[in-house]
Subunit: 234 residues, 2 copies
DNA sequence: TGTATTTTATTTGTCGACAAGAAAAATACA
DNA sequence: TGTATTTTTCTTGTCGACAAATAAAATACA
């Protein structure tokens, strides 16, 4: 029985319950606090948040819409599994969105966007200094999401956000293996990307975004392919 | 009071209500039977489908998740407006997804995919012969969605589906202006795309997909830019 | 002991009702 | 007549309860 209620305040604003449950569950899923495949119980959540099942259910429907949980009709609902077999489709989409969003940001950004981007850049650097993997992963996603926002294409932004979310779960596995070995390199690459965007150098931004994405993908792929081999030989 | 219930059968399977409402509302929105901006009343829908508000609400939450309706907290919910001011972002995303999905289809398709694609291709040609604009638009979307499915990248497929949906509404406006002038050209282009995919000619598929997308975009943009001018001069 | 069938238990999907919030209407006041 | 305030109406958000569907447990039977 988890005791995570918000300081015994039974008063809650009318529409806020759904968002609260949604946000919290989403973070718990992306931080792997809720393991892929683990069941989600509506009544348990209802008790935990001290509300009826109706708003809980609405939050779950939303999460299902984004693919973060899966619902078997009339049966259980559980945290979505990571589809390791088709990781390449994920990487394909991720690299393309890295490129497109960085490119558009160089083209369409406004001065105030740069401030936001630089803010997350510093948060990321701070998280790296503090060796806080969880925070690194989250701020990295926020950094690239901010770049996408500056590109001002909501279709790309929403797909990219979804990919970055999924990436948070995968990166977590990655850092759990290479524990405490945080590459300083990504900070420098982020800085270079910011510079290209600020200079409105579209081609350079594209190139850097692509290189950055492929570097990350290559590292993660190296890990998983090694794991695959281990799995087979065992 | 609309009388669209399904032949006075009060018996309905347990989980089917939500999907029925979702599918029907979705089609009505995309076919512009429900105009952008028009209000959506939960109780009215509940009466119409003879069910409680709970499953109606779930369907609405899903539609809102896909951006087809918008919900103002504690107030009304309405069909999403078409954002004419930012149509270029839509076109950018559409063209890129046309390219990527056609390219991937040429690369990853299996024989059985081609049968499905050819099926929709014929449906489209038949709809053009019958001068059935609504059916043309729907089968065109289905045709390209089938190509995306053959590419087997769920991230691209889902974004492309969303774009094709939105495109159904825009194309409808397009054909309402150029009424009954259906270009035969698109059928031929579709045939060429199928041939390139079947031949696994990735670069050619990419090229054709791009050209096809840009042709459509150019035509639609011509219409809207003309309308813009009219709006200003009036 | 192993399999088929019934019973129980658990969880989801649906319902009707009620209360909160906001808009519209009605009233008061200058 | 025009503006501010109250009242009413209408829609949404939430609740507790019940029924259907499935899984698990228990029983029957060979």
């Amino acid at each position: 029985m988890t005791d995570t209620d918000s300081s015994s305040l039974p008063e809650r604003k009318r529409g806020s319950g759904v968002k609260m449950v949604y946000d919290l569950l989403r973070d718990e899923i992306l931080d792997l606090k809720l393991a892929p495949g683990s069941p989600i119980d509506e009544v348990q959540l209802a008790e935990r948040f001290k509300m009826s099942r109706t708003p809980i259910r609405e939050a779950l429907v939303r999460l299902a819409g984004e693919g973060l949980i899966e619902t078997l009709p009339n049966r259980s609902t559980m945290v979505s599994n990571i589809d390791f077999l088709n990781l390449h489709t994920f990487f394909d989409a991720l690299v393309l969105m890295y490129r497109v969003t960085t490119r558009l940001a160089a083209q369409a950004h406004r001065p105030e966007d740069l401030a936001v981007i630089r803010g997350f850049h510093e948060d990321y650097a701070a998280a790296l200094e503090a060796r806080d993997a969880l925070k690194m992963i989250a701020t990295n996603a926020a950094f690239h999401a901010a770049i996408a926002e500056a590109g001002r294409n909501p279709y790309f932004t929403s797909l990219f956000r979804r990919l970055l979310d999924e990436g948070r779960r995968i990166l977590q596995l990655y850092y759990q293996s290479y524990d405490e070995q945080f590459p300083r390199r990504f900070v420098d690459e982020h800085a270079a990307i910011i510079a290209a965007i600020a200079a409105r150098d579209i081609e350079e931004a594209d190139r850097l975004g692509k290189a950055h994405a492929e570097a990350i993908v290559a590292q993660v792929q190296k890990l998983f392919s090694r794991n695959d081999r281990l799995d087979i030989t065992l």
